[in-house]
C-alpha cells in the first residue's frame, strides 16, 4: 500500500489530445532528459535517411560499371597524400567510392535487418501468444522446440540454414537467393526470444481479471488473444525488436563477412569489411575500417534507443 501514490481522480473535464498527452508523458520527458538518447535518435534518423535514399544522397553509384574506373582504385581518404577530392573517404580495390558504397551497403543491411526482425517478431508473437494462452500440450511442444533452438546461437543456425539451402539448390544460385536466405535464417534464429517473452507476459495477463471478465462475457479465445492480450504484451516486444534490429544487422554483417551472406556484387556493410580485410596488411586500411565504423555507429545508435526504451518501459526502474 504505497502512501505516496496520489489519487489522480480528475473531474469530468475533456481529455487532452494525443499529442499533448505524449508531450506531457513521463516517457517523453525521460527521453528529453537523456541527452545521449536524443543524440542517438537524431543519429539513427540521419543514418536511416542516407541509407534509404542512397541513390539520391550518394556522390557516386558504386555499382554503375560505366562510371567506376579501375584507374581510381585504392585512393586514400582526403587527408592523406594522393587523395582525390572526388572520393572523400577513398576508394576500394576496384575504384568504387567508399562513402557511396557505405550508403548503399547500409541500405542492404537495414533492409535485411528490418525484414528479418519483422518476420521473427510475427512468428514469435503468434507462437508465444498461442503457447501462453492455450497452455498444456500446445505450450509444451512449442516451448521444447524453442529450448532446443536456443541451444544454438543465431550465427550457427544461420550458417546451417545457409549450408543446407546451398546443398539443396547448389551454389550457383547463391547470388539470387542469398538475400532471402539471410532474412529467413536470421528470423529463424530470433523468433524464440519473442515467443518466450510473449508467452511469459501472456501467462501473466491471462490470469488477470480483465481477461476473465471477457471470458465471462462469452468472448471467444481468439478474440481475447488479439483484442485484449496482444495490446498488453507489446511493450517488451518493442524493446526486443529494437535490440534485435541491432543484433540482426550485426548478424547479417557477420555472415557476409564470413562469406555466406550478401555477395560482392551486392555488398552489405559486412561484405565491404570482408573485401577490405584483405588489404589491411598492405596499408589500405580505409577499405575495411570505414565500413566497419559505419556499421558500429549504426548499431550503437539503435542499441542506445533500445536501452532507453527498455528502461522507460520498465515500471520497476522508475
Amino acid at each position: 500500500m504505497s502512501d505516496v501514490s496520489s489519487k489522480d481522480a480528475k473531474g469530468p473535464d475533456a481529455p487532452p489530445g494525443l499529442v499533448a498527452r505524449i508531450i506531457d508523458s513521463d516517457m517523453f520527458h525521460s527521453f528529453l532528459r537523456s541527452r545521449i538518447t536524443v543524440l542517438a535518435a537524431i543519429g539513427t534518423l540521419i543514418l536511416f535517411f542516407v541509407a534509404f535514399f542512397a541513390p539520391l544522397v550518394a556522390p557516386h553509384d558504386p555499382f554503375d560499371l560505366a562510371s567506376v574506373s579501375i584507374l581510381d582504385a585504392r585512393v586514400p581518404p582526403f587527408w592523406m597524400e594522393f587523395a582525390d577530392p572526388r572520393f572523400p573517404l577513398g576508394t576500394d580495390d576496384q575504384g568504387r567510392d567508399i562513402i557511396s558504397a557505405i550508403f548503399y551497403g547500409m541500405r542492404i543491411s537495414l533492409i535485411v535487418g528490418f525484414c528479418s526482425v519483422f518476420l521473427a517478431a510475427a512468428l514469435g508473437i503468434t507462437l508465444g501468444l498461442i503457447a501462453g494462452y492455450m497452455g498444456g500440450r500446445v505450450d509444451a511442444v512449442i516451448m521444447r522446440i524453442a529450448d532446443i533452438q536456443l541451444t544454438f546461437p543465431a550465427i550457427l543456425i544461420a550458417l546451417l540454414v545457409d549450408g543446407a539451402v546451398h546443398g539443396i539448390f547448389g551454389t550457383l544460385n547463391r547470388e539470387v537467393f542469398s538475400f532471402w536466405i539471410l532474412i529467413f535464417s536470421i528470423a529463424l534464429s530470433f523468433w524464440v526470444q519473442y515467443a518466450r517473452t510473449v508467452r511469459g507476459s501472456t501467462m501473466v495477463e491471462k490470469n488477470k481479471e480483465y481477461v476473465q471478465a471477457a471470458r465471462v462475457i462469452g468472448i471467444p479465445s481468439s478474440t481475447i488473444m488479439i483484442r485484449h492480450i496482444l495490446p498488453n504484451v507489446t511493450g517488451p516486444v518493442l524493446v526486443i525488436a529494437t535490440i534485435n534490429l541491432a543484433l540482426a544487422i550485426v548478424t547479417e554483417a557477420t555472415l557476409s563477412f564470413l562469406g555466406v551472406g550478401m555477395p560482392p556484387t551486392q555488398p552489405s556493410l559486412g561484405t565491404l569489411i570482408a573485401i577490405g580485410n584483405d588489404f589491411l596488411y598492405s596499408g589500405e586500411w580505409w577499405i575495411a575500417i570505414f565500413p566497419g565504423l559505419a556499421l558500429a555507429l549504426l548499431v550503437l545508435n539503435v542499441n542506445l534507443l533500445g536501452d532507453w526504451l527498455r528502461d522507460a518501459l520498465n515500471p520497476k526502474l522508475r
Binding site: 500500500m1 504505497s2 502512501d3 505516496v4 501514490s5 496520489s6 489519487k7 489522480d8 481522480a9 480528475k10 473531474g11 469530468p12 473535464d13 475533456a14 481529455p15 513521463d26 520527458h29 488477470k208 481479471e209 480483465y210 476473465q212 471478465a213 471477457a214 471470458r215 465471462v216 462475457i217 462469452g218 468472448i219 485484449h228 495490446p231 498488453n232
Partner: protein
C-alpha cells in the same frame, strides 16, 4: 520521557512538476509498553511517518521540517551511519507481507544470528541460543529444529512470527509495525495481534502500529492518531477517539466501517469521502433498456441450484497415475439461491469460495456435481448459442480494480464490448446511448467514457466494472470480494451502489467475501466455507446470533470487537 516523540514532521517528495507533500505537521508520542495506532486510508501518509522514523524514506523523499526524538535524543539529523546503528538495535520494524520479507535463500537461523551479532557482542553459539529463545518467545513450537529451516517451509502466519522475532533481536525500545496483519487471514490475524500485545507488555517496548483497519486499532492500541491527506486530524486515547470522534473525517470514517454486530440499511453518506462524480441522472427503469433485465420469466424453484459440486486440480503431474497429486478446491458443495435474493459465501483464503464463482460462470469446468441455472443444467450445455445465452444472464464483478479492466481500452469500449458482442443494441448510436446511461447510473457521468482506466481511482474503477457487468443485462450477478481492495469509505459507497442496483433491477446476487461484517450488511442468507466444504448455511441474522457449526463460532469469536466504535449516524435495519 516518551520513547518516541515526533514534532511538526513534514515529509516531501520532490517531483518533476511539483513537490508532493506526503506528511505535514504531525506531532506524536509513544510511551514504553504502550501501543500507538496510526490509522488512515491510502494516501493518508501513515506509512511515510513510519519510514521517516526509521530513516528509510523511499527516494526521493526527504524530511523537510520537524524533529524526531528517541528517548530525548534527536535522530532525524543523525548521519547515515549512526542511523543505521539505530535500526534493529533501538528501533525494530515489521513489514506487511511476511511472504516477501524474508530472504528465501537463507535459513531462519542464519538471518537471526547475523542480525543478533550485528548489534550485540555475542559469540556464534550465544547468538544461536538467543535465536532459539526468540523463536520460542514468538510462539513457534519446536524452536531448535524449526530454526534450521528455510522461510518457504513456514506458513504465512509463522513467517510473520519469524519477522517479529527478527525485529526483536536486539531488544529494541521501539517497534514499528506497518500493516502487520493485512496479508493474513482473520484467524491468524487474531493470533499475531495477541502476540504483539503480549510482547509489548512483557518487554516494555513502545509500539507504533500503522494500519487501515479499525478492527486492529480497536483491538490492541492504547492511543490512536487519525491521518487524512498527510495531516493529523485527531489524536487521543483509543476509546475516546473511536467512541466520541470529534473531527468530521473521523466521524465519517467510523460510520463507514461495516459492523458485524449491527445490520444497517445503508451506509451513511458523509462528506470527506471521495466524490462519486457527476450526480446520477434519474432514468425510468420501467421503460429503460436496463429495465429489460427484469423481463425474464420468473423461474420455478430456485434460480441457481448447485448440488454435489466438486472441483479437483492436479497439482503434481506424473506419467504414473499413483504419483499424481490432486487438490480438492471444492468438495461436494450444495446450495440454492432464490430469485431476487443475495446469498453470501464467507471463508478464509483457500476455502474454495472463489473457485465456486468461477465454476458457475464457466471459467472452470467442474469435475463433479451439477449447476442448474433457471432450470437449465449448465454442465451439460454444448451448443455454443445456448452457452452464450446463459453467459449473458450471469455476470461477475472482480476483486482487483486495477487488473479487472483492460488498460489499453477506453472505458467506453470496455463497456460497449459486451453490448456489441451479444448484439443487445440495434445501432452504434444506441450502444453509445446505453453506455452513457450506464456510466451515469453507476455515478461516473458519461464523460468518463472517453478516458482510460488508469485515470480513475480504485473505487471509480470498480464502478466501471459494475457498469460492464450490467451491460449484458444480467439477472444474476456474482461479486467476488468486490470491495476488499478498497478503502473503507469507498467500500461503503460501492456496497450502497450494489444494494441500490439490486433492488432497482431485481438482481439475484452471489456475494463472496472474507469479511463477515461486509457479508452481514449485504446478504439474506449466508454459507460458511472451509477447506472446500460448506460448513453451514443459515439466514443472515440467525448465523450471527445462533451459529451452529463450531467453525462459524470460531470465526465469529475472532472478529475484532468494534463495540468501541461510535454508532452515531447509523440507522439499523
Amino acid at each position: 520521557m516518551s520513547v518516541l516523540q515526533i514534532k511538526d514532521l513534514k515529509v516531501e517528495f520532490p517531483g518533476r512538476k511539483s513537490t508532493f507533500v506526503a506528511v505535514e505537521g504531525v506531532n506524536l508520542k509513544v510511551e514504553a509498553g504502550k501501543i500507538l495506532g496510526v490509522v488512515g486510508e491510502s494516501g493518508a501518509g501513515k506509512s511515510t511517518v513510519g519510514n521517516a522514523v526509521i530513516g528509510l524514506l523511499a527516494e526521493p523523499g526527504r524530511i523537510a521540517e520537524g524533529e524526531i526524538y528517541l528517548h530525548g535524543q534527536r535522530i532525524d539529523s543523525l548521519p547515515d551511519k549512526q542511523k543505521r546503528r539505530l535500526r534493529g538495535r533501538k528501533i525494530g520494524m515489521i513489514f506487511q507481507d511476511p511472504l516477501t520479507s524474508l530472504d528465501p535463500l537463507q535459513t531462519v537461523e542464519s538471518q537471526l544470528v547475523e542480525t543478533i551479532r550485528t548489534h550485540l557482542a555475542l559469540s556464534r553459539d550465544e547468538a544461536r541460543a538467543r535465536a532459539i529463545e526468540l523463536i520460542d518467545a514468538v510462539g513457534i513450537p519446536d524452536a531448535p529444529e524449526r530454526i534450521k529451516q528455510y522461510p518457504h517451509q513456514f506458513s504465512g502466519g509463522m513467517r510473520q512470527r519469524v519477522v517479529i522475532a527478527l525485529a526483536l533481536c536486539a531488544e529494541p525500545e521501539l517497534v514499528i509495525a506497518d500493516e502487520p496483519t493485512t496479508a493474513l487471514d482473520v484467524s491468524i490475524q487474531a493470533q499475531i495481534l495477541e502476540l504483539m500485545k503480549k510482547l509489548c507488555a512483557e518487554r516494555n517496548v513502545a509500539m507504533l502500529v500503522i494500519t487501515h483497519d479499525m478492527g486492529v486499532i480497536a483491538d490492541i492500541t492504547d492511543h490512536v492518531a487519525v491521518m487524512y491527506h498527510g495531516k493529523l486530524v485527531e489524536y487521543g486515547e483509543t476509546a475516546q477517539v473511536l467512541g466520541h470522534p470529534q473531527h468530521p473525517y473521523t466521524k465519517s470514517l467510523i460510520s463507514a466501517v461495516p459492523r458485524p454486530d449491527i445490520r444497517i440499511e445503508r451506509f451513511p453518506v458523509v462528506d470527506y469521502i471521495e466524490k462519486a462524480g457527476a450526480p446520477i441522472r434519474q432514468i425510468d427503469i420501467a421503460t429503460h433498456w436496463l429495465g429489460k433485465a427484469r423481463a425474464y420469466d420468473k423461474a420455478e424453484g430456485p434460480l441457481l441450484k448447485i448440488s454435489e459440486l466438486g472441483m479437483r486440480f492436479q497439482v503434481a503431474g506424473s506419467i504414473i497415475r499413483s504419483r499424481r497429486r490432486y487438490f480438492d478446491a471444492v468438495k461436494k458443495v450444495s446450495f440454492d439461491i432464490a430469485e431476487g435474493e443475495t446469498f453470501g459465501l464467507v471463508g478464509e483464503s483457500g476455502s474454495g469460495k472463489s473457485t465456486i464463482a468461477r465454476l458457475i460462470t464457466g471459467l472452470y469446468h467442474p469435475t463433479g456435481g451439477s449447476i442448474r441455472f433457471a432450470g437449465q443444467e449448465l454442465t451439460e450445455l454444448s451448443n455454443r448459442k445456448q452457452i452464450l445465452a446463459m453467459r449473458r444472464q450471469m455476470q461477475m464483478i472482480f476483486q482487483d480494480p486495477f487488473s479487472s479492466l483492460n488498460a489499453r481500452m477506453r472505458v467506453r469500449s470496455i463497456i460497449a464490448e459486451p453490448i456489441k458482442f451479444h448484439r443487445l443494441a440495434s445501432s452504434g448510436a444506441q450502444v453509445r446511448q446505453i453506455v452513457d446511461d450506464l456510466l451515469d447510473h453507476v455515478g461516473l457521468g458519461a464523460a468518463a467514457g472517453e478516458k482510460f482506466p488508469h485515470e480513475f481511482s480504485g473505487g471509480q474503477r470498480q464502478r466501471i466494472s459494475i457498469a460492464r457487468a450490467l451491460a449484458t443485462r444480467p439477472r444474476f450477478l456474482i461479486c467476488d470480494e468486490p470491495t476488499s481492495a478498497l478503502d473503507v469509505s469507498i467500500q461503503a459507497q460501492i456496497l450502497n451502489l450494489l444494494k441500490d442496483l439490486q433492488q432497482e433491477l431485481g438482481l439475484t446476487m452471489l456475494f463472496i467475501s472474507h469479511d463477515l461484517a461486509v457479508i452481514r450488511q449485504m446478504c439474506n442468507r449466508i454459507g460458511v466455507m472451509r477447506h472446500g466444504e460448506l460448513c453451514e448455511v443459515a439466514e443472515c441474522d440467525a448465523l450471527f446470533e445462533t451459529p451452529e457449526h463450531p467453525y462459524t463460532r470460531e470465526l465469529l469469536s475472532l472478529m475484532p470487537s468494534l463495540e468501541l466504535l461510535s454508532t452515531e449516524n447509523l440507522e439499523t435495519a
